[in-house]
């Protein structure tokens, strides 16, 4: 069981991802914005942060950089389906070198659970 922070601005998408993680036995905190996410991380310890990259209020890439530049921070998964005119690969490009894993949307529940357990098993 892991403590996971999930950041995604699309509520139904976030709900589905959180439900999948909870069913797999993880504890999930949800938020819809990168800045709010960083604030939550500063107050509570997490094993893993899963963040969307393209969000209206803040850029998930900033979240990835902030978390990975801190010592002994949580593991980070960046996810994106790209956006209008921006392919997913391009949206994830900056995060790829920093994040512990990337998930390209659309992904299946199995992709998600496998990636999470791959990062948190040890």
């Amino acid at each position: 069981m892991c403590q996971i922070l999930l950041i995604d601005d699309m509520q139904p998408v976030r709900h589905a991802i959180a439900a999948t993680l909870r069913k797999a036995g993880h504890e999930v905190v949800e938020t819809d914005d990168g800045n709010k996410g960083l604030e939550i991380v500063s107050k509570k310890q997490f094993d893993l942060v899963i963040t969307d990259i393209m969000m209206p209020a803040s850029d998930g890439t900033d979240v990835v950089y902030a978390l990975k530049s801190a010592k002994a921070g949580p593991k980070v998964i960046a996810m994106s389906g790209g956006g209008a005119g921006i392919p997913a690969k391009e949206a994830l490009q900056l995060s790829t070198s920093q994040a512990d894993a990337v998930l390209k949307k659309p992904f299946t529940n199995e992709d998600l659970i496998e990636t999470v357990s791959g990062l948190t098993s040890n």
């Binding site: 139904p12 998408v13 589905a16 999948t20 389906g81 209008a84 659309p106 299946t108 529940n109």
Partner: protein
């Protein structure tokens, strides 16, 4: 000051008076086609044509002189354009008109014509001056650019739509598949499996839309992967056709991941154009068969055959000539076949027309377009 007010005409007249050669040099050196018709003779016969006239039209001056200029008109010349010229002649007014003319070889060209009455010193009408320019290439380029712009707009719009759809579909597929194993009732499970299947189909469709928009973003690579690019194009065109059309495909190739040197957007547009033409030929109730094959080790062939009325052998080359139409297809939503051929030629490919499928009544044979492309090795 004098020069400004008469735009230098007086100086020109002086030089012209001294050097009659000037006029000849101007006419003979002009890249535009220049002709004079005698207004004092019945039916306005041509009395002078410059070398550019002969070069553009293919008619020698001896063939042109003495005839009325209308011999350049032909089958598909728009009669409205012709009446504009007639009206201007009757009213002795200058006129600018763009019309379809034909060369001696029968090849059509778009002619931008300016015609002006010439009056002599006593004010009597003596001639009509015709200045013409073959603007076929410009027109084709414009048409192709417009088509490309439309495609890019379509690509951008469909890409944006696909992202929205993916975001909406993710919770559906994810949540159904998450809870499906917990459903004990087999009938409810069956129902949910059907909705999961539909949501996944919708996701596939959305990814096809992304494939189309991706063509734009990857245009710099100018490569289409086959059969995948063809499968995506066919999935898209299927959406554009009425369900009464039967699409049959055979994409079995010895090698997977064939690469052809054309961007996926243009490739898709070529396929969509030929397939929708074929569908129209069968009056939207026929069979269209699309096959992909390799030959001669280095080439790829995509054939699109229909069981419509076919194209008579004598007219087969004509379908590729610019502005050829089978009369009714005037809606102009797609690229003309001439532009399709141009796109394929540009990447070193070719298109040929041959016999297609047997018609439903067994009497005739439909038409087949075969695209022949060099494979990237």
């Amino acid at each position: 000051m004098q020069k400004q007010s008469d735009q230098g005409y007086q100086a020109l007249e002086t030089i012209l008076g001294d050097s009659p050669d000037l006029l000849k040099s101007l006419l003979e050196g002009s890249p535009d086609t220049i002709s004079l018709s005698d207004a004092r003779q019945p039916d306005l016969p041509l009395t002078y044509v410059n070398p550019s006239f002969c070069e553009t039209t293919g008619y020698g001056s001896e063939e042109a002189l003495g005839r009325n200029c209308r011999f350049l008109q032909g089958e598909d010349t728009n009669q409205d354009d012709v009446s504009i010229i007639r009206k201007a002649i009757a009213e002795r007014l200058p006129v600018d008109v763009v019309l379809l003319n034909y060369k001696k070889s029968g090849e059509p060209f778009i002619n931008a014509l300016r015609m002006a009455p010439i009056f002599d010193k006593s004010g009597d009408l003596s001639a009509f001056l015709g200045i013409q320019r073959d603007i076929t290439k410009e027109r084709l380029r414009t048409e192709r650019d417009l088509a490309q712009n439309r495609l890019e707009a379509l690509g951008t719009a469909s890409g944006a739509l696909a992202h929205q759809l993916n975001n909406l579909l993710h919770p559906i597929t994810s949540l159904i598949s998450l809870h499906l194993p917990d459903i004990a009732d087999p009938a409810i499970r069956k129902d949910l499996e059907v909705s999961l299947y539909s949501a996944r189909q919708a996701a596939d469709l959305s990814n096809n839309l992304l494939g189309l928009s991706r063509g734009k973003f990857h245009d710099s690579s100018d490569v289409t992967m086959l059969p995948d690019g063809l499968i995506r194009a066919v999935e898209l065109v299927r959406l554009m056709l009425p369900p009464t059309i039967t699409l049959e495909t055979d994409f079995e190739t010895p090698a997977k991941d064939l690469r052809v040197p054309i961007s996926e957007t243009l490739f898709a547009q070529v396929i969509i154009n030929i397939v929708t033409n074929a569908a129209q030929a069968t009056k939207n109730i026929g069979i269209i068969r699309i096959e992909l094959s390799e030959f001669e080790d280095s080439r790829v062939r995509i054939s699109i055959a229909d069981n419509g009325p076919g194209i008579p052998k004598t007219l087969r080359d004509k379908v590729f000539t610019p502005f050829y139409s089978s009369k009714k297809e005037k809606n102009g939503s797609g690229l003309g076949l001439s532009v399709v051929l141009q796109i394929i030629n540009k990447v070193g490919g070719n298109i040929i027309v041959s016999d297609g499928l047997i018609q439903p009544d067994g009497d005739g044979i439909g038409c087949m377009f075969t695209i022949d492309l060099q494979k990237i090795t």
